[in-house]
């Protein structure tokens, strides 16, 4: 993969802070690489600017959480990384977004391929109105030419593999052909993660993946994400400080469309560099 050279930039606090002894960097074979990089990213919905000069480097193989008050642009930022925002005709973007060193805004980029490699999980679980099995196979059928000729057995293996990875297999293996929308919310959300896996994505974007779940479901999904850490790069929006704190390696704090601070989670929660970060974390932000 050819990497577009990145322009020299000042080393930020964050980069200095990210010391070499990070335990997570052992995870994944390209550990320490940059999975998502944005440079001077600005985004407008019509006349309304939602993102301002966002410079981010999200490391590969770890979980990065994104926190910030409602409306600060977290969802918008996620939706720029899989280019789903452009569907709205009135969105304008400037700056660069790279995934694994590739500029995804370049004209030769096929947006379908971007979405294949960058999966998204939503706030409300949104399984398709199909069977559990067909939900898992949906993306696979679309993207894998092999799926067309695949035997039932091969497809079964894909389904089983994905559902086992998300710890759903034992619960649903006897009802793969029943409707996915009848599952519990926790199961639905796991299924929504499972259906991305056969596409072998590199990045998984999660937009408040637990906010519709009860505490037990939240814990289960968090554990699942934590278990997949290393294999995939996670960028996870959360409203829940405790979740950000216990379930992420690094943390990004956003405010009014800007990235205020990006640091290791233990640092940002213990010794935030910016006053607004501290205010927000401690619930003092109004």
């Amino acid at each position: 993969m050819d990497r577009t050279p990145t322009p020299p930039r000042e080393a930020s606090d964050f980069e200095v802070g990210a010391a070499a002894d990070r335990p997570v960097e052992a995870a994944g074979d390209v550990a320490g690489g940059v999975a998502i990089e944005t440079r001077q990213l600005n985004l407008w919905y019509g006349d309304f600017q939602a993102l301002f000069d966002v410079d981010l480097r999200i490391k590969q193989g770890i979980i990065t959480s994104m926190i910030g008050p409602s409306g600060c642009g977290k969802t918008t930022l996620l939706r720029t990384v899989n280019r789903i925002n452009e569907r709205l005709g009135y969105v304008r973007t400037t700056g660069a977004v790279e995934v694994l060193g590739r500029d995804i805004l370049a004209p030769e980029v096929e947006v379908v391929q971007v979405r294949r490699h960058v999966g998204m999980v939503f706030q409300r679980p949104n399984p398709l109105p199909l069977s559990i099995r067909e939900n898992v196979l949906f993306g696979y059928r679309i993207h894998e030419p092999a799926a067309r000729q695949a035997s039932r057995g091969e497809l079964d293996a894909v389904v089983e593999d994905a559902l086992k990875t998300v710890l759903l297999w034992d619960g649903v293996k006897d009802r793969l052909n029943s409707r996915a929308t009848a599952l519990s919310l926790e199961e639905q959300q796991k299924l929504c993660i499972a259906r991305l896996l056969p596409l072998k994505p590199t990045v998984l974007l999660m937009d408040e993946p637990c906010s519709a779940l009860d505490p037990a479901g939240t814990e289960a999904v968090e554990e699942l994400i934590w278990g997949l850490r290393g294999e995939y790069t996670f960028l996870m929006v959360t409203h829940n400080m405790a979740q950000a704190r216990r379930a992420s390696d690094e943390c990004v704090f956003m405010l009014l469309g800007r990235v205020i601070e990006h640091a290791r989670t233990d640092e940002i929660f213990v010794t935030p560099r910016h006053e607004t970060t501290a205010d927000y974390i401690e619930g003092r932000y109004a």
């Binding site: 789903i84 569907r87 294949r116 998204m120």
Partner: protein, 289 residues
């Protein structure tokens, strides 16, 4: 402490009166339906027989059956369906799934709504000008059916649009975010979940065309044409026009005959509706959400 007060008694009486009034209105609504069916059955029932359905009118249409008109109406409706469904459904899919929300699509939506308000006699004139003369189809099933198709097109589009919009947006988002194209999304998720609604709407609306008289009168329906049509370029009899003719234009028609024809027409429409409801039930039961 919890006893009803004078105020409660009054409120309860008003409540009861309002409810009774609305019930009465509802009963008034089904009264005409029952009356129509009752009168038709009472007066037309005696002429009904297999022979009536399967023989030609005889004696200057004062006796015999309705076969050519029955067959003709089926031809007209089926050909109209073949024309209006593909066009209407495709247009609705475009408007719902592809079209950007801009001035052009708003204008198109407005045009569709207005088209639905055009009286059928105006459609008839248009059909004569366009299909009979300009496209040189002559007075034929084709010209009449296309006229019917244009007349029903707006309703087909609107009912299809409604069915498509009833599919939750989150399903589409889920597909797009997995890299599905619009068409993959439509084909694999949107259509399977709206097809029952689309079919129901389409069949219900098109079955209404079975009863239309004006649009086919000048474009393809003949008053008397005992031979069954063999192609879309033939003229044909139709139940609606036949009913009109024997009621208004033919002397010495036995009183029961028009009622018999009307019964056949209503029966045809009701069976089409029954088919569409059957379709819907089957397709709904397959739905997975």
């Amino acid at each position: 402490m919890f006893e009803a007060t004078e105020l409660n008694f009054r409120d309860n009486r008003v409540e009861w009166a309002v409810k009774a009034l609305f019930l009465l209105m509802t009963l008034l609504l089904i009264l005409p339906v029952l009356l129509i069916l009752g009168v038709l059955l009472y007066r037309g029932g005696p002429v009904l027989s297999w022979e009536f359905l399967f023989t030609q009118p005889t004696n200057g249409m004062t006796a015999g059956g309705v076969l050519p008109a029955l067959v003709g109406t089926i031809w007209l409706v089926v050909v109209a369906l073949l024309a209006s469904v593909p066009i209407g459904v495709a247009a609705a899919i475009y408007l719902s799934e592809y079209a950007p929300q801009n001035a052009l699509t708003r204008a198109i939506n407005l045009a569709i709504i207005n088209l639905a308000g055009v009286p059928s006699i105006v459609h008839a004139l248009f059909g004569v000008g366009a299909f009979v003369y300009f496209f040189r189809f002559g007075t034929s099933i084709l010209a009449a059916s296309l006229t019917l198709a244009i007349m029903t097109l707006p309703v087909v589009i609107v009912s299809t649009l409604e069915s498509l919009r009833a599919v939750p947006h989150a399903f589409r988002e889920a597909c797009w975010n997995m890299g599905a194209t619009r068409w993959q999304t439509i084909w694999r998720v949107v259509l399977p979940n709206s097809i029952s609604g689309i079919l129901t709407g389409v069949i219900l609306e098109v079955s209404r065309t079975a009863g239309e008289t004006a649009p086919i009168m000048f474009t393809g329906a003949a008053m008397f044409m005992p031979l069954l049509p063999r192609s879309v370029f033939d003229q044909t009899m139709a139940l609606s026009l036949h009913l009109y003719t024997i009621s208004m234009n033919v002397p010495d028609v036995p009183e029961a005959l028009p009622y018999g024809v009307a019964l056949v027409l209503i029966g045809l429409i009701l069976s089409m509706n029954a088919i569409s409801i059957g379709f819907r039930t089957v397709l709904r039961s397959r739905r997975k959400w």
